[in-house]
């Protein structure tokens, strides 16, 4: 399970594509009988993931405030120094404190990851639900756009377009633009099944406007799917952001992200390991935490997968 997830992650992180939406085979049954998910406690791994994620988030938010150094400070007495009491993570070649830089990088990567995941899932929910509910030309238009975006080499496009912008918001918009399509297709499939359900029909016969039915009845009933997918997207978005930043296309100085820190530290990874391993380790921990939570959520909401597991 986890191996296949990593595989899928890699594909998305580098190309923005997901091979297929076949991981939602039982989606109709799950959304067809609300509330499908029985109240169930998180599994042990899920709790571990959640704890790790909360810890990292707290570190990212509070850490930079507590550290006495700032990102712009340079310690002229300590260039490329291994960890000491003064600099627990060591220093960069220009005397920057790696602790505060790593925590700021973690903050930026987490922020971008969450914002992109939420935005991409929102877009996916709206596009998928409208296409699936209205069908006809709305469906054809929206799916044509979706398919078009799926075949565009996202990494290259984002790399080229984002290198003209120094703003991280631009990066968020670009990453979002290439991350919603597969979820949208899954949502569309689920909506097509749902539009023939009694409660949807009832609403329609009572004269409730169509857009209101989509927003009030269809999308809320897909919440479980969307929450699980958003969580998985957080990991994908973080990896996409760090890969772009690693190659110098994503977050640009003076901002730092885990990706740009890893890129800066890579040439000295063996000679001065502290320039590389803190950022790399935190990235690994972050992705593991997000995946554990995402897997667990999907297991809870998706009976078909649970049966297989």
């Amino acid at each position: 399970m986890s191996a296949s997830l990593w595989g899928r992650f890699t594909t998305r992180a580098t190309t923005g594509l997901r091979p297929s939406a076949s991981r939602f085979p039982g989606i109709s049954t799950s959304v067809g009988t609300p509330p499908a998910a029985r109240p169930r406690m998180f599994s042990a791994t899920g709790i571990a993931g959640l704890a790790l994620l909360s810890f990292l988030a707290a570190l990212a938010v509070l850490g930079p405030i507590l550290v006495p150094w700032t990102a712009a400070d340079r310690d002229f007495e300590a260039f490329l120094q291994p960890p000491t009491a003064n600099h627990p993570f060591g220093t960069t070649a220009s005397g920057g404190d790696l602790l505060v830089l790593t925590l700021l990088g973690l903050r930026k990567s987490l922020l971008i990851g969450f914002v992109v995941a939420v935005a991409a899932t929102t877009v996916a929910a709206l596009v998928g639900a409208f296409a699936g509910y209205f069908l006809g030309w709305v469906d054809r238009t929206l799916m044509w756009v979706t398919d078009l975006l799926l075949v565009i080499p996202a990494f290259l496009v984002v790399a080229v377009v984002s290198s003209g912008h120094d703003d991280w918001i631009a990066l968020v918009v670009l990453l979002t633009a290439f991350m919603w399509m597969v979820t949208a297709k899954a949502v569309r499939g689920a909506t097509i099944v749902m539009r023939d359900r009694d409660y949807v029909k009832a609403a329609r016969f009572m004269g409730v406007p169509s857009h209101r039915i989509v927003l009030r009845h269809v999308v809320p009933n897909l919440a479980s799917l969307l929450v699980a997918d958003a969580t998985v997207n957080v990991g994908a978005a973080i990896l996409a952001e760090t890969s772009l930043s690693y190659f110098g296309f994503g977050v640009t100085p003076p901002d730092v992200s885990l990706g740009s820190l890893i890129a800066d530290g890579a040439p000295t990874a063996l000679y001065a390991p502290w320039t590389f391993w803190w950022a790399a380790g935190l990235l690994i921990a972050l992705i593991v935490a997000v995946n554990l939570v995402g897997d667990d959520l999907r297991d809870r909401f998706d009976p078909a997968l649970r049966a297989c597991a």
């Binding site: 712009a72 002229f76 260039f79 490329l80 220009s94 110098g248 100085p253 040439p267 000679y271």
Partner: protein, 557 residues
Amino acid sequence: MKRACALLLALTTAACAAQPGAPGEQAAPVTAADLNLTAREKIKTGGTLRWGLTEYPAQWNQNHIDGNHTNVKTVMDALMPRPFRADEHGVPALDPDYVAAADVTATSPKQVVTYTLNPKARWSNGQPITWADYDAQWRALRGKDPAFHVANVTGYQDIASVAKGKNDFQVVVTFARPFGDWRSLFAPLYPKSATASPQNFNAGWVGKIPVTAGPFRFGAFDTRAKTITLNRDGKWWGESAKLDAIVFRGLESDARVAAFANGELDVFDIGPSAADLSRAKSAEGAVVRQAAGPDFRHFTFNGESPILSDIRVRQAVALGIDRAVLAKSDLKGLNWPVTLLDNHFLMNSQQGYRPNAGELAGPDAARAGALLDAAGWRLSGAVRQKAGKQLDLRFVIPSGLQLARSEGEITQAMLAKLGIKLTIETVPSNDFFTKYVIPGNYDIAPFSYVGTPFPVSASYGTYADGVRSQGDDISWNANLGRSGNAEIDTKLRAAMAELDPAKALKLVNEADRLVWRQVNVLPLYQRPQTVAVDADLANVGARGFRDLDYADIGFVS
């Protein structure tokens, strides 16, 4: 980048000036060369030396604009004649293998230099080296015919004529104007066949080395393995080479240190990488030889940028920068003492070096603040302002160069204390010179200049005042800092024309004091040359200004 490098080398490896300095003048106490100098009798005959280059050159004509590279010089120094060889302090001495005597034989009405050639010296095709080779080289390099794509014309353009003396082995060079650095000329000397026509000059040495005249001769190219093999030349008239062969190999920087650690290379230049240095040091049977290199690190200030055109602001920025801290960060892990370079023309290890920074040696925050106040930049909040504009300077660096970025970050922190905002602008490394530095599209830019044994003529262009062409257009040519004045020009020209080396050095130092006040180039430190070699090797390593004698390189018996 390649072209930019070539250009910079062209700017700096030009011709002539200071020679044996006045007695008693000591160069600064830094290691000038580290070569494991060993007497020839202690070196065994035979063996193959494998030497790592940073790239595999295509143009082997060193006087061609594309051949003016360190890598080409490293190879061709084993093959081509030169009248003078520099020692590690940059003092040239006659090379008797090629030239028996070379002196200024007249100074008025015109400077005349007479070379007496060694009649035994022959090209590998059997022809003797004569005045005709000198004549052809002058005609190609004097810059009259643009069809010759020459690296530089310095010195050659000042020659009025090259004539045959009492026989073929005497060359009489008459100068149109005095040229003190005349010893830099004809190094290296290429045969008449290479310089007689633009066709041969530009294309005759691409991918081939047709003629040589040194202790080694050309053996073979292997373009797939990127190697060039030189073999001992049996017809060499001097003391024969100790090595059987030298194999040069072009490799990427990561691959070089790996190849050395694997025992596939015997010599390679590590460059300013602490990581590679530590890896090379730990390789079996290896030693690292270090000496002061011929190049120096500096910041160039754009004297035509809106903010820095005010000389008071340039001086204030120079005073706000603690150069020792920058040097300390750059040199971290390179095992090299932090010695500041306080001279634009002469390196610390060079004959005649004098610290000329004076009151601009910095750092002096109080004076810098006063200068900025006087210039109208007043503190309001964190950043100084003048007429609603922020004191915000662009520090332009090439991408992928960690050294430049860390210099920028440190300078940023230093100048912030003065209320100067420094914005680091990373640009593609291929565009750094062509689109930013050369057109003057920057405020401050960090890079390196290469010093030569002939400091004035080599760097005259870097500090010469702009030439007013049509209207208000000023053409700056090689002066990338875009500031200068007539006083500096006069002093530099006097130094260049001075034939007495000691007097020339004095004039150079006087000019340097003026250049310091101008804050065009802010020198930081002379860079170390760090070379990893096989521990058994002698007479090779960090050469500083010295021209190596390839015949003496070998393995200690």
